[in-house]
Amino acid sequence: MDISFSDEEVAFRDQVRDFFKQAPVAEVTALIAQPDTYKEGTVRWQKHLFAQGWIAPTWPIEHGGAGWTPTQMHIFETERVAASAPDVLPFGLKMVGPVIYTYGTEQQKQRFLPRILASDDWWCQGYSEPGAGSDLASLKTRAELDGDHYVVNGSKTWTTGAHHADWIFCLVRTSTEGRPQQGISFLLIDMTSPGVTVRPIPTINGEHSLNEVFFDNVRVPVENRIGDENKGWTYAKSLLAHERTVIARVADSKRRLEKLRQYALKETEGGQVMAQDPVFRSRFSDIEAELMALEYTGLRVLAAQASGQGPGAESSLLKIKGTEVQQAIHELTIDLAGPYGGIINDSLTSGDIGHEFGDQARKDYMYGRATTIYGGSNEIQKNITAKHVLGL
């Protein structure tokens, strides 16, 4: 029972802290905040990390990673959030990259990995379909072999960033025999292929990040298939547990809660700061305790990983509690904004309207509803836990 860092880890932390201090955080954050320059800012930031050699810290060194331990990764994330620096996009670096270096051919590795590391390709994820959400394995987008190509027909949905993407990694049905999981293959599809169409899905926070992607007789070379035909489910599944631990976003919640605390020291009613409001205090401390616990739940998972285990079923717990905490923070923040929790700034400034964080609180609250739905809804996570952890 020891949470102290080794001397090497302390030195590493200082190095990371220093890096963020020097990095162009404010500059890229401003770019990322505007829809028009979002992509530019994201790529610039990722290239900055790439130049440092830290773009894919957990990848094996042989594939261009830094080979960090889970503890180093934890230190990096903590410092990143403390510096309010942006996260990298997960689709290439955290999702398809590891699948390619684990299950891909030598040729696939050489073709795709360097461009992922350099952020030359923008990737998106094609898993969910209109009829296959929680029940992912029931997906219907089909790929039929025609010579040395697959012909892909169907559609994918909730595809974050598809409108920016160069490539999409997809689960497609190559067989209808056996259990639904058995006939699925993992394909990499060039978004510029004829027959690929992207339709924006407007979301309840008024912004555009999600899309539907349609495939109409799209020809995909067989060499773009990862691993064996009909084995795609296995490759995809290995990502899911990892995705859950990412979704928990504990460090990010800590930063948000601290920001909320600062707001509460300024927001007033009847001349009294809201930090003194009894109901606010109850709700705040309730979240705080849960988050203090969650931080250590995360460390426990990390410590298990460091000693070669997991992330296994306990990732569901992290996902559930992590997203519940996020939503509780969103709720308390929008409530703290009071009557300003319902406004849309648009082109007006906070100064014009008269409130600092109401507009952002609304966006966070609304989009934050998705956290308990995506990555396997929290209901699905509880089913998984009941079955695989409790054995019910």
């Binding site: 409530d335 009071g338 849309i344």
Partner: protein, 377 residues
Amino acid sequence: MHFNLSEEQAMLQASTARFIDQQYSFEVREKDVRLPEGFNRDTWATFAELGWLSVPISEAGGGFGGNAADTMVLMEELGKGLVASPYIPTVMLFGSLVDIGAPEALKHSLLEPLIAGQLQGAFAYQERQSRYNLADIKTAATREGEGYVLNGEKALVMNGAAADRLVVAARTSGEQFDTAGISLFVIDANATGVHKTAYRLMDGQLAANIRFENLSVTSDQLLGDEGDGYSLIEKVVNSTVLALCAEALGIMNKLTDITQEYTKARKQFGAPISSFQVLQHRMVDMFMACEQSRSLLYRTVCSVGTSDADRSLHALKYMIGRNGRMVGNEAIQLHGGMGITDELEVGHYVKRLMVINTLFGDADHHQQKLAQISLPT
């Protein structure tokens, strides 16, 4: 003892439901709310024709003289239809203030066109710093000769963009948080010295910050007595809160219904998701949240004018805020990914419900007001 509607109430309910069913689909609503004013003037004219604009206005004011139950019936149906209209600011706030506070001549000159659908009103009460404290008023009306000069800024004025006339709450005496010393003035929203900054709320409707720069007003623009505006505000806000809660209940019921329909139609793992026990129980929780809110709404309607009135109203706004959030969140969650798109109606209902929670005190605020009655400090 009964909870039936009167014949007139039943007719009002039927006519509102018919209007929504026949003329106000979700597509129409979406088009209406995106108009520059956040509502459709033609729809408003229909409201006038159907007599809805006169419902809460007294007979002396040329209205229908409806009671709390009448307003409730109308607003609940408008909620179910997610009707985008300035009914709350123009009729419930501006109209009622004029009705109870204005001298006869002024009253008739404003309420006649209002009831006819030709005049839009708004009530400028809160300020940037006010939050939910109705007495937190810094905007000053300084005596000058026979009249006053207004200076200051009002924030979040519902319908402030479209309003022809405003009732402005300004301080003629007292300190920032005093309930005494607040006076109400009817002003022309387009007079020189009135500066508006309009923006949308998340439900698509428009609000504005309105700044007054040396705006001269005369004594006959005063509603009620000088310095005595707070009692008028309280009265009108109370009936508006009840109306908003009725609207919210309509929304909550609608959300509960469409969630049930969606889960019956949506299949996963080879079965409608409505067959999963966990989702069933959560829809039962939504149903119970609606039924309990309805009971409290009825209680509040029945308690108007009794010693239970304030307690009921605080309990109601608290419960509507809390249960409304629960119902809204569950509706989105049970719609899965579809719940977070702007293409389905569910998110739009939730957003209106969220705006209602921020009007005249949210759940936390009214919970503490309720506690203050039972456990006075």
